[in-house]
């Protein structure tokens, strides 16, 4: 048997070592953040946010098309995923033992892990191919599908946490079931559902792969959801792999805005769900 002091010392050395390893693993995130802010912040100004891209060689220009595009895509995704997600979540929380619930949960789990590029292919087959061209609508649908499992899961989980007594009290007062759900149960779980919606938005705001063959990208301003539309991540991708230095600078600026947006949503989500 080794001496007691040796074993204590070994335990302490290992704990220091492990803690250093854990701290070391934060380095990539800090490096990414540093790079993006360093390269991006100087690009961002009023013109960058409010004007359209200019051809290579002309100074100025901005990313308004991508900002508008991402906003429209997120709105379409929200319109589709929020009611669908909340109703399915209510179903799973209320009728969790049924066969339909079992199968729906399975689909939710599959959707949570499905690679985003596969969602892109599916929506291409379902919408782009029949329509014959790329569109903002198809991009929004793809993002909506990505968002759906997050909204469903958070709705189901928060509704399960709401005390039965609240529901029973409402029913005992003679309030019909549907009104009990819509006016008592869902409002009681509002913060949890909101967290899910924010987390879902954070998940889709930076998604590129599902947009490659759906929204496709568009160098012009577009408000028509039946036409191709730009998006922040698409613009970053196209500019990042281009050979032009000024486009790289634009991509850094766009990355900076996108990352700040997504991380803020993430942090808000965590703060709300902790309460």
């Amino acid at each position: 048997m080794k001496s007691y002091h040796f074993r204590i010392l070994k335990s302490k050395i290992i704990s220091v070592f492990l803690t250093l390893f854990a701290i070391l693993s934060t380095v990539p995130f800090l490096l990414v953040l540093y790079f993006i802010i360093k390269n991006g912040i100087s690009v961002i100004n009023w013109e960058f946010l409010t004007s359209l891209p200019k051809p290579v060689g002309e100074p100025g220009g901005g990313i308004l098309n991508a900002i508008v595009g991402t906003t429209i895509l997120i709105i379409i995704a929200l319109i589709l995923a929020v009611p669908f997600g909340i109703f399915t979540g209510v179903f799973l929380a209320e009728k969790g033992d049924s066969k339909i619930a079992f199968l729906s949960r399975l689909v939710v789990e599959i959707l949570q892990g499905v690679p985003s590029i596969v969602v892109g292919i599916i929506v291409y087959l379902w919408i782009v191919k029949p329509m014959g061209h790329f569109s903002a609508l198809s991009g929004g649908v793809a993002l909506g599908i990505m968002m759906l499992p997050v909204v469903i899961k958070s709705t189901e989980e928060i509704l399960k946490l709401i005390p039965r007594e609240i529901k029973e009290a409402s029913l005992a007062l003679g309030v019909p079931y549907y009104k009990t759900i819509l006016k008592v149960v869902i409002p009681a779980g509002f913060s949890g559902i909101l967290t899910g919606i924010l987390a879902g938005t954070a998940r889709i705001a930076g998604e590129t792969a599902p947009l490659l063959f759906t929204a496709f990208g568009n160098p012009f301003l577009n408000f028509n959801i039946l036409k191709p539309i730009s998006a922040m991540p698409l613009l970053i991708f196209n500019y990042a792999v281009s050979p032009y230095e000024e486009w790289w600078a634009k991509a850094w600026g766009a990355s900076c805005i996108l990352v700040v947006f997504v991380l803020t949503l993430n942090i808000i989500t965590r703060l709300i769900s902790k309460r």
Binding site: I100, V114, K179
Partner: protein
């Protein structure tokens, strides 16, 4: 006055409400089934032409309309497992530090945020950063090692993947470590074990299935990750000779070629790849979730 009529109306509304709820749940099931059927249908042409041999074929030649997926399968598995290997020690370290040494407090919170938030950075931004920071770095290493200095390639993609999947396995591993009952730990301390001995001989064995579930779920992420990998892997269609050579994964080939694919066999072959990716990631994910679920009950 609540007459019988209004009560009946309320009951009817309840029925309608229940129908609406069921409708969405059933729609969701159709969505899942539709995913599979659509992909299957779209890849049928390639399936008929190449059969299962598609996955053993070494050539991907759009001009000759000859398609084999082996290089991409190989690239996908290689990058994912190297990424797992790189992230594993860090994942275990974070799990132990946050699951045992620092369970609460300022340091724990900061460490948790900093390790988990990288999962929130969009894949395309990580790929962009990888192009400008990691690729030159790997190129330096390759020059020092006297191998062709591509910069882009399997290793670069694996490193980025490791960053992306670390938060998943670390967070699940941490939860598993926190689930170890205090009585067990105290019993070991009472027998004279040191803290490290408690971790090694009591906590890790107890949390093992949770840690494994975390690794499997992060593998599922790695297999399907697209943008960052596409940007740094080098888009090479042959079988990569070493970890320094460029390659392709299933996801990166689809991302690169889908919009340019002309010809039905070509497009159908890409769909076939998509179907394979969908099935593999789904199986891996369901296994991971199954283990997690067993743990929670």
């Amino acid at each position: 006055m609540a007459s019988r009529f209004t009560r009946k109306l309320a009951l009817n509304k309840d029925k309608i409400f229940n129908l609406v709820l069921s409708f969405f749940a059933v729609l969701l099931i159709f969505l899942g089934v539709g995913f599979f059927l659509s992909l299957f249908n779209a890849s049928y042409l390639a399936f008929k032409k190449f059969g299962i041999g598609f996955f053993a074929g070494k050539n991907w030649d759009p001009v000759q309309e000859e398609f084999g997926a082996l290089p991409f399968i190989y690239g996908t598995i290689l990058t994912s497992f190297i990424a797992l290997g790189i992230s594993f020690p860090f994942s275990i370290a974070i799990s132990i530090v946050l699951g045992e040494y620092f369970q609460k407090g300022f340091f724990a919170e900061i460490l948790r945020y900093l390790t988990e938030l990288i999962a929130g950075v969009p894949s395309v931004v990580l790929g962009f950063w990888g192009l400008f920071f990691l690729v030159p770095l790997v190129r330096e290493i390759e020059i020092a090692l006297n191998v062709p200095p591509y910069g882009v390639g399997i290793l670069t993609a694996s490193i980025i993947l490791a960053f992306m999947i670390l938060p998943y396995s670390a967070s699940i591993g941490k939860d598993a470590m926190r689930l170890v009952p205090n009585e067990l730990k105290e019993a070991a301390y009472a027998l004279g074990a040191t803290r490290w001995e408690v971790i090694k001989k009591v906590m890790i064995p107890y949390a093992r299935s949770g840690i494994i579930a975390g690794i499997i779920l992060s593998l599922g992420r790695a297999l399907g990750e697209t943008m960052a990998v596409t940007m740094v892997i080098g888009n090479y269609h042959g079988i990569p000779e070493s970890i320094f050579s460029p390659g392709n994964t299933i996801a990166s080939v689809i991302a690169n070629e889908f919009t340019e694919a002309t010809g039905e066999v070509y497009l159908s072959s890409l769909m076939y790849l998509g179907l394979a990716l969908f099935i593999i990631t789904t199986v891996v994910n369901l296994i991971g979730r199954f283990i997690l679920k067993k743990l929670q009950h």
